[in-house]
């Protein structure tokens, strides 16, 4: 069980590519994570603070709409509101396409994999209106630049992010004794974010916290808010006066401010339960649903020793022999399946027809829904399932096979010869049954489809 370039690309990257060579070594794998973000530059995705401008425009339009007199004036404003929203939808489709292109072209597949991993770990969604289209801008700004430093920075970045504050209802949570609660009786705490930060983002559901900790943390969090003009905003008038005891420590005091919140998040980020939870989740995501206990322990130990320095943590995962078990294990979630297929097919941007978002929706968006993963719209803050069995359902598999058989041709037009494509997609991993299918299929589309539909390609 030792390093293999092919396995590195399949298990820790975006899959094999007919163009981009797999990483030569673990240090090669890690090196790209800290260099310039080539893919972000080549295939840009709007950062969230620019997306916010759209929300400011929309707020102004709605305000004008409320004040406008007469059907005609209201109608004109309504049209502008719709146009702004539709533009956001179209742009989101381009960002989706750029995500696929990053998977296709990257030399640092682990970078894109980590972006998916952390985006899912810190799931946040816009609830209604144009903000629904801000998922990728959120990942681009709050997550992507923070994936190789300390976990505390990543945790702070997402926990104070407008999209997260909106998604987990923090923005309007106010301390029961806060100035605003005294003025407006009925307003009070919302524990949603506090709970999910402990349960999902840090310590894990079996971590050593109690409901009292959640309650205290919700009080500590009161004040985390945002507005579209300025983005994140700490509102002292929302804050609960006095210190809060969370996990046995007192945070804050007489003066309501953001710094005790950040202090708590830093402490939380190096909590042993957090180390264990993050280590386990990384191993489950990258290696196996039934993780090797030694591997989890090793990664967790390096996490603790480095105070949650993520690059060190990834290194710990990659240096352990159990990470290199040669048999392919985890089933790719649908988006990873499709994106890695795009890589194997060497998709080019023009093939995505970016000026016709309907095509992308039909060829990738809707099929993903059929496979069980509506793009950027997981059902809850726990994100997408990790278990293989959640994806390999009759309808999910039928949709995958169907996609593999029909969509590659629509996407790339001129399909490769299946006998070569099995190498592009699977390298030496192609089992005899796939090699046979590649030459026995009656058409190119079926040959390519069977290779992509094979359990071998769907696992990593």
């Amino acid at each position: 069980m030792r390093y293999s370039p092919e396995l590195a690309a399949i298990r820790f990257g975006c899959g094999l590519s007919p163009i981009v060579p797999p990483p030569r070594s673990v240090s090669d794998l890690l090196a790209g994570l800290t260099g310039p973000d080539e893919m972000a530059r080549t295939y840009p995705i709007e950062p969230f603070d620019r997306f916010q401008d759209r929300m400011i425009d929309l707020a102004a339009l709605w305000k004008a709409h409320r004040k406008a007199n007469g059907r005609e004036a209201k109608g004109t404003l309504r049209d502008r509101i719709d146009a702004t929203r539709n533009q956001a939808r179209r742009d989101a489709s381009v960002w989706f396409a750029h995500t696929l292109m990053r998977w296709t072209d990257t030399r640092t597949g682990l970078h894109e994999r980590l972006a998916f991993f952390w985006a899912d770990h810190f799931t946040a969604r816009g609830k209604n209106g144009a903000i629904r289209f801000s998922g990728l801008p959120y990942v681009e700004q709050a997550i992507r630049p923070n994936m190789t430093g300390y976990f505390s920075d990543l945790l702070i970045s997402v926990t104070t992010h407008p999209l997260m504050l909106q998604y987990l209802d923090q923005a309007y949570s106010v301390g029961p004794d806060s100035p605003i609660a005294r003025k407006r009786p009925g307003r009070g705490l919302n524990e949603n974010l506090a709970r999910e930060v402990l349960e999902l983002h840090t310590m894990g559901v079996d971590g050593a916290y109690t409901q009292d900790d959640i309650r205290a943390l919700a009080e500590l969090f009161a004040g985390l808010s945002f507005d579209w003009a300025g983005g994140f905003r700490y509102r002292a008038d929302f804050a609960q006066p006095g210190g809060e005891t969370v996990l046995g420590q007192v945070y804050g005091g007489a003066q309501a401010s953001l710094s005790p919140v950040l202090e708590f998040l830093r402490d939380l980020s190096v909590h042993p339960d957090t180390a264990r939870h993050i280590a386990r989740k990384l191993v489950v995501h990258f290696v196996s649903d039934r993780p090797d206990p030694d591997l989890v322990a090793h990664v967790a130990r390096r996490y603790r020793e480095s105070d949650g320095h993520l690059l060190t943590v990834y290194g710990a995962l990659l240096e352990h022999p159990a990470a290199w078990q040669p048999a392919l294990m985890n089933v790719k979630p649908p988006a990873d399946f499709v994106a890695s297929a795009c890589r194997a097919l060497h998709l080019r941007p023009k093939m995505l027809d970016l000026d016709r978002p309907g095509r992308l929706r039909r060829r990738i968006g809707r099929p993903l829904t059929g496979m069980g993963q509506r793009w950027m719209e997981p059902d809850g803050p726990d994100g997408w399932p990790e278990e293989d069995a959640a994806w390999v359902t009759p309808q999910g598999l039928a949709s995958r096979i169907s996609w593999a058989m029909t969509r590659p041709r629509q996407l790339v037009g001129d399909l490769p010869d299946p006998r070569r494509f099995q190498w592009d997609a699977l390298g030496s991993y192609a089992p005899a049954s796939v090699r046979f299918a590649a030459q026995a299929a009656e058409t190119r589309a079926e040959g390519v489809g069977l290779i992509l539909a094979s359990p071998t390609f769907q696992r990593r």
Partner: protein
Amino acid sequence: MTPDLTRRGFLTRSALVGCSAAASPLLTRVSFAAAPWDTRLVVIILRGGMDALDVVRPLGDPDYAKARTGLLRREDTVIDLDGFYALHPGLQPLLPLWRAGELGAVQAVATPYRDKRSHFDGQDLLEAGSMGLGDVAGGWLNRALGQVPGASARTGFALGHGEMKLLAGETSVTDWYPDTALSLSPQAALLAEQMMAEDPLFHGAYAQAMALMGDGQEGGAGMDDPTKGKRRPPEHVNIASYAAEQLRGEARVVGFSLNGWDTHRAQTKGLTRALKRLSQTILTLKRELGAPVWGKTVVLAMTEFGRTVRQNGTGGTDHGTGGALLFAGGAVRGGQVLGDWLGLQESALLDRRDLMPTADLRAYVAGVLQGVAGLDRTTLERTVFPGLDMSGPTGLLL
């Protein structure tokens, strides 16, 4: 990867032309633009290599029966066509068409493809219409459409899930893909089954999916349409109905594929099923086009190659060379099997195994295009089928 990235990009872009909204079967056509000509052409690509010698059986040849003892079943009724050839029982439903002069075949024809006997390359050349692979961009039917003034994107339709390089190229055509959940050709289903069988998790889900979708082995997957809650007709019938609907309107050229012809094993079953689909397809076209339009229609069914003269060791046949072109419709001169016959004695075979092609398949197709779309010989020999010599006889059309 492909060294020729420019061509690849070009093909891709062109292949994607055709507006999906316009192609939606749910939309009502609002205007009938004047079509450039009146005759309808349907080109069916039989993917996998149809065994011409089993479909149009040269029973009058003394060497035929002994080469195929296992493929000629005693219980089969002999459907004599002309005293020499007999029809495969799977095409029995089309016998009335033969009698009415609406069905015929050309035996022992091939594209210029030789030697390697690869499905993918063979199909590529069949659809490119050139002498060699990579000689030209796009498919011959696309280039033919490009030669006709007044052809719009609604003149040519490429239908179905499969690739139709035949219609890909510079000229805009309409692409439509039936919105089916899972439909595998019998061969793909078999290969998928073999792959899935190695992985219990996948195999379980796959088996259930196939059961839910209906029997993919029989006439293409008939499956439940969740939107309607009742069984839909098989995909090939859907496609034929949709093709007929388009051809009654503005469309003049439709291309689609029928898979399932790669009969390496258990050919008597496999070919019967494939021929059943072909019969259903042609009968659906005839029925749904209605007599007046059917009378102006030419259906050509062609395949990348024929199969070995002698049956193999698994009740089937392997990849060969010389094959057959089937033609049907109210506008053809049916009731005849065309083509020169050299016999099946070993010395007459190609590489002592394949039916020797006696004519270029493209010549017959070119003759049809000449009659249907009024293309002249120079255009056909230089642009549509580069390198073709049309001096031989054709004569498929009335």
